[in-house]
Subunit: 359 residues, 2 copies
């Protein structure tokens, strides 16, 4: 902590050149065992560790990958009972990076500082994993022009004709939604189901709607041409959408929501309309955020394997960094059905994998 010696000092004291010191510290080859020991010894003696900055500059590789995630749960209260899914992603990313000899730099974007933070991080890493809802699409596109990027659990709405988006890792939206819908039909006997879609153009929402339709088709039920209602991926959006749905006189037996937040809003709107959940209407979400478990009734939903997603995204990023000029990849991991009170299930149960599908 005192002096901060350099490779020159170590080389001099070891009686070798800096090149040799560099080789030894890189665990490379081209030196005798004796030399190795000598160098390691003086390095320890001087408490010297190679400067990551100098290394990164010379080798054009920092050995660091960045993980950008949204600063949700701003609440941050110690009472939080549920494992925040972001934490799982972080741990998964750390594990994958460490086992590859890299380290993970983390950054939480609050809507205010997001952009600047992300660019600042971009300069310090070899590549970026960007978690859903961390940044607006524009910023992601901009970032992906500066460093390799892997999108996690989200996709760019507009991955146009000539623009090839970043690599992608996500959960099986279609399969998860299909499994949930099939559950409502097969286990709870619903025949009149409504899908509450997220914002138009959201790939997540579209895939989930597709899964919903597939399940109806599987069961021989009539398949809607479009979602019963649409709203933003927020509580307000869900509440509003359900209010409108009810206003049309529609009374579905089950409402499959595009995500948990919409489902939470749906619960509110239903309560206001004096409809009981799940007695009168079943409600389901997607994501399994912490609030889903705490909701009354507890929300049945579809969980994404966040830890695996974190691991997978870092592995994909590292392979991209190693080989920049390969085709865009996309990995889809299976989801888990989480059934709670809101669909009439007594307690949580877990299904097997929802199946895998290609990207």
């Amino acid at each position: 902590m005192a002096d901060r010696s350099t490779i020159y000092e170590v080389a001099r004291r070891s009686g070798v050149s800096t090149a040799t010191v560099s080789r030894v510290m890189a665990d490379g080859t081209g030196f005798s065992a004796a030399t190795r020991e000598r160098v390691k010894a003086t390095a320890a003696e001087l408490s010297w560790v190679p400067s990551g900055s100098a290394r990164g500059l010379a080798a054009r590789r920092t050995g660091i990958v960045g993980l950008i995630f949204p600063d949700l749960g701003q609440s941050g209260d110690a009472e939080e009972e549920s494992p925040l899914y972001v934490d799982q992603v972080i741990r998964g990313a750390e594990r994958a990076a460490t086992s590859a000899g890299d380290a993970v730099l983390i950054a939480a974007t609050s809507t205010a500082s997001g952009r600047d933070l992300a660019f600042s991080v971009a300069g310090k890493v070899d590549g970026l994993v960007i978690l859903a809802r961390s940044l607006p699409d524009d910023d992601i596109v901009a970032l992906s022009r500066s460093v390799p990027v892997v999108l996690l659990a989200t996709n760019l709405a507009r991955s146009g004709p000539d623009f090839v988006g970043p690599d992608f890792v996500g959960a099986d939206n279609r399969g998860g939604s299909r499994a949930m819908t099939a559950h409502l039909i097969a286990v709870h006997g619903h025949t009149d189901l409504a899908f509450l879609a997220g914002p138009a153009g959201s790939p997540d929402s579209e895939e989930r709607f597709a899964g919903f339709c597939a399940a109806l088709r599987d069961a021989g039920l009539p398949e809607p041409a479009a979602p019963a209602a649409t709203g933003s991926f927020t509580e307000a959006g869900g509440e509003q959408a359900v209010r409108e749905l009810i206003a049309t006189g529609r009374r579905p037996g089950a409402i499959v929501c595009g995500n948990d937040e919409m489902a939470l809003g749906a619960l509110t709107a239903l309560r206001a309309a004096e409809l009981r959940v799940p007695a009168d209407v079943a409600v389901t979400g997607f994501d399994d955020i912490a609030a889903a478990r705490r909701a009354r009734p507890a929300l049945s939903t579809v969980r994404q394997p966040m830890r695996e997603l974190g691991e997978c995204s870092v592995r994909l990023l590292l392979s991209r960094i190693a080989a920049a000029d390969t085709a865009r990849k996309s990995v889809v991991l299976p989801t888990e059905l989480v059934t709670r009170r809101s669909c009439s299930c007594a307690s949580r149960a877990v299904s097997g994998p929802s199946g895998r599908s290609p990207g």
Copy 2:
């Protein structure tokens, strides 16, 4: 992502010198608004972000702090219900770092790779926060000779005469233990209490024992000269210690353990001896690890404010980095009493702060 342009390219296209570009990107001063816009524009156009490595090398500051934590919960199963305390620390550290313009690099040490990992990280950061049980004392001492270090929730056993240990941030061990002991006495009427100490020389254990004694003194109860038993800070250690205690014929009404893991082991030993908890013996821990809540009976314990500890340690580290030559600092945060079944309390309750004490 394609080309990776440099400051020279940006300077040339903007018709200014690299020095000016540097000033603009550092949000410094000494340039006209027009120049600023021009530079920012070409930077964006080229998707250029300053290289962190080059910056770090020239400025002798990476803008990154490292956080080293133990890879506990190796289990890593998605079923984990409780917020892992490490995650809270990570989030707190991230928040404090980001708000200071820095980023956080995380690394989980598994007993195997620990040392190498830590040194690799040390080279990439301006300083290190090292969480309890991440590394053996020797490694911590070695690291602290290479970079500024803040110890979190742990302290070096041997901070000898001439060796000044690293800065420290932790919870109020003494106050927390005292509050728990006082609770056992005042609320549950215990008068025969035993303290199960951790390994000799552990500052944590010693402080907790001191708090235990203080509470006895406060209540006018006889104060033991030494802990009733001693063991390592593990389940095995706790089990063994209680077995020995019982073998001596001692039958305390309450056993205050040095940490949660020992308490868990104590539970096992007590069960083996056919003593009921809490009916025959009350048992308490310290830390509030995830397993404490799941134990049967659920373990009463003392929780450390991990998120705040994370924030605090990063702030302290940054101030240390800014001013290396100031006296060693040590910050103590208040703890929380968490009462569950193992002390006869029906459900959890939370006390106010345990008070603050100087380092």
